[in-house]
């Protein structure tokens, strides 16, 4: 149903959409501020924080040679990608760089912003996305040269450095998780939460391995044990102090999330009411002089709203009960007489039942046209062995025998149709008694269905 009214007629109901995800898009700040509308004061800090901190560590997808690690790292640290590449290459000669690279490749998520690449020129985009082979070759040559240098002069690097690198790496990952944008992501989507925890766990593990390994290699582990105990106790104490605060934070976050979902639902509801009910009400006001049309509009809207509220099944083609309600709705819309449908039980449609639906439709149309009543009752009951449909009006009724044989409505469309499909139709009517059409259609043996 389309109402020919512009939506702008109700500017006060134009709703803000939900907050956009944080990011570097020009609207990000505005979206974040909008999000503040539902969030606690803390959010204000989040907004400023997002602006001052360096971009989060992502693997670059548009400016990359291999995995986009160096380029992403450079963007995160605010240095030239070439510097990052050279630095990592230098490390790679000792073997550490390779490990660092692989770990970063594994742990750092690809840049989600790049998905929304809006560069208009497709050629430009492919060029940017593609890897520059000549650059890769240059770096390989450089690596080979450096390798030679180390083989001749350096020897194997101290394994101590490995543990330092591990520790640094774990720290990086942990710090990266603390980024407000990332935090928001945790709140926004539960599916990402698992991944984030894995990353955090790995980061913690790397730091521990790094620290312990460093101590062990320095032959200081036994000496450090006392210090370690002290540190652990201290940590436990701090944990006890901080835990309630963290739990509170998590609860607050859950509350905010619920709040956000609720306001989204509210927005959806308001949008729905705006699109349907308000338009219908406007139409009704315009057609106030035509009571039949007003009633029709009101009924159509009522049905739409009920379907939406109670989420009745809409798979009209599948089973009898929604199909019958659909037929009644159609007839009602055309003829403007309310039809009350009560269905008991339901079953899949077959040819016989489709014919029954057609006959029922004809009976409803007849009642709407000729009975001159305010309402028509339709009752349908599905029994194990048959389906019964009753269409009843309290109109003046008529003398069935007086209906001429050539009038198709009753004889052809109702009685004849039912009998052709193995069913049966009976019409009870008498002047002053109203009319009731009874349709009876046997069901196929229940062995096929339950």
């Amino acid at each position: 149903m389309v109402f020919p009214l512009p939506i702008r007629e109700f500017p006060d109901l134009t709703l803000n959409s939900g907050p956009g995800g944080p990011g570097s898009s020009p609207d990000a700040d505005r979206a974040a501020r909008q999000a503040c509308w539902y969030q606690a004061d803390e959010c204000e800090e989040t907004v400023t924080a997002t602006r001052e901190e360096p971009p989060q560590l992502y693997r670059s997808t548009d400016d990359r040679l291999l995995g986009g690690v160096c380029s992403g790292l450079a963007r995160h640290l605010g240095i030239d990608p070439v510097v990052a590449r050279l630095a990592l290459l230098a490390l790679a000669v000792g073997g550490i760089g390779v490990a660092v690279y692989l770990v970063l490749l594994l742990l750092v998520p690809p840049d989600p912003e790049a998905e929304e690449d809006t560069t208009a020129d497709p050629e430009e985009r492919t060029r940017r996305k593609g890897r520059d082979i000549s650059q890769i070759l240059a770096y390989i040559a450089l690596a080979a040269g450096l390798g030679m240098l180390f083989l001749f002069f350096g020897g194997v690097l101290d394994p101590l450095l490995w543990f330092l690198v591990f520790g640094a790496l774990g720290g990086t990952i942990l710090w990266q998780q603390a980024n407000p944008a990332e935090r928001d992501e945790w709140v926004a989507s539960t599916t990402l939460r698992g991944k984030a925890w894995i990353r955090t766990g790995l980061g913690v593990l790397l730091v521990i391995v790094g620290v312990i390994g460093f101590l062990a290699f320095q032959q200081q582990l036994h000496e450090a044990r006392a210090g370690l105990t002290f540190a652990l106790t201290l940590l436990a104490g701090i944990g006890l102090i901080v835990a309630p605060w963290i739990i509170g934070l998590v609860r607050e976050r859950d509350r905010e999330r619920r709040e956000r979902i609720r306001s989204q639902e509210r927005a959806e509801l308001a949008a729905h009411i705006h699109d349907s009910v308000l338009h219908t009400l406007t139409l009704i006001q315009r057609r106030a002089d035509d009571p039949r049309e007003v009633q029709r509009l009101a009924r159509v809207q009522e049905r739409a709203l009920r379907n939406w509220l109670y989420q009745r099944r809409t798979d009209v083609d599948l089973t009898l009960s929604p199909a019958l309600e659909g037929v009644a709705a159609e007839v009602e819309e055309v003829h403007g007489v309310p039809i009350e449908v009560v269905c008991v039980g339901d079953c899949p449609l077959n040819d016989g039942l489709r014919a029954t639906l057609q006959a029922a439709r004809e009976a409803m149309v007849n009642a709407s046209k000729y009975a001159g009543v305010d309402t028509i009752s339709v009752f349908c009951e599905v029994e194990p062995d048959e389906v019964l449909v009753f269409i009843r009006d309290r109109g003046p009724g008529f003398d069935l025998d007086a209906v001429p044989a050539d009038r198709m409505g009753v004889r052809g469309s109702i009685i004849g149709r039912m009998e052709r499909h193995g069913g049966h139709a009976r019409i009870r009517t008498a002047p002053g008694e109203g009319t009731e059409v009874q349709l009876r259609m046997p069901r196929p043996s229940p062995s096929g269905e339950t």
Binding site: Y310, V342, C343, S377, F379, E381, F390
Partner: protein, 233 residues
Amino acid sequence: MRGWYSQVESHDVGEENTFASGRIPRIVIVDDHHLFRSGVRGELGDAVDVVGEAGDVDEAVRVISEQRPDLVLLDVHLPGGGGIEVLRRILPKHPEIRFLALSVSDAAEDVIGVIRAGARGYVTKTISGTELADAIVRVADGDAVFSPRLAGFVLDAFAATDAPPVDPELDRLTQREREVLRLIARGYAYKEVARELFISVKTVETHVSSVLRKLQLSNRHELSRWATARKLV
């Protein structure tokens, strides 16, 4: 749905003390829409004596306890727990007060839920003033008022399932009760049901009241399911 409520003319006018014989029932209207309350008040006119109105559960409980009306016209959806909460707080203390539920909802769990909580009838807000007055008189006299839709829900709920009934007396409808309900679902008024089945109107009323009792007391799975949906159990 004109007509099926208009059953008062066929009511037995034997007992002097019934509302059908002319006593005007004192009622309280409970609905959170002020506009609707005044509309109902206006439409009912002199047929009833409106002794109080309430817009939420707490107010309703207070007004009903003070006024002790014959009947409460109860909206199903109310702030503060809904009509069910009112029934739950009033009926244990004042079992003599009758409740007629009135709602725009025709969701099965609303209808069944409010009946299970103790209402003796359920009509929708589209009902006309005279029909509502008839339904009020009927319920105030202790009878049950079933709309076609409610009859349909009840037939659905009591339809044969594989699960064996826990209490055959309560969990099953008799053949006659099913026939009565079917006719009501088809839009028949009580007197038309009576004529169709060659029984008296009083007998129809007895059958409907019996169905109401089963509806309220049965633990049938379908009924429990609806009741659970309204957090009744």
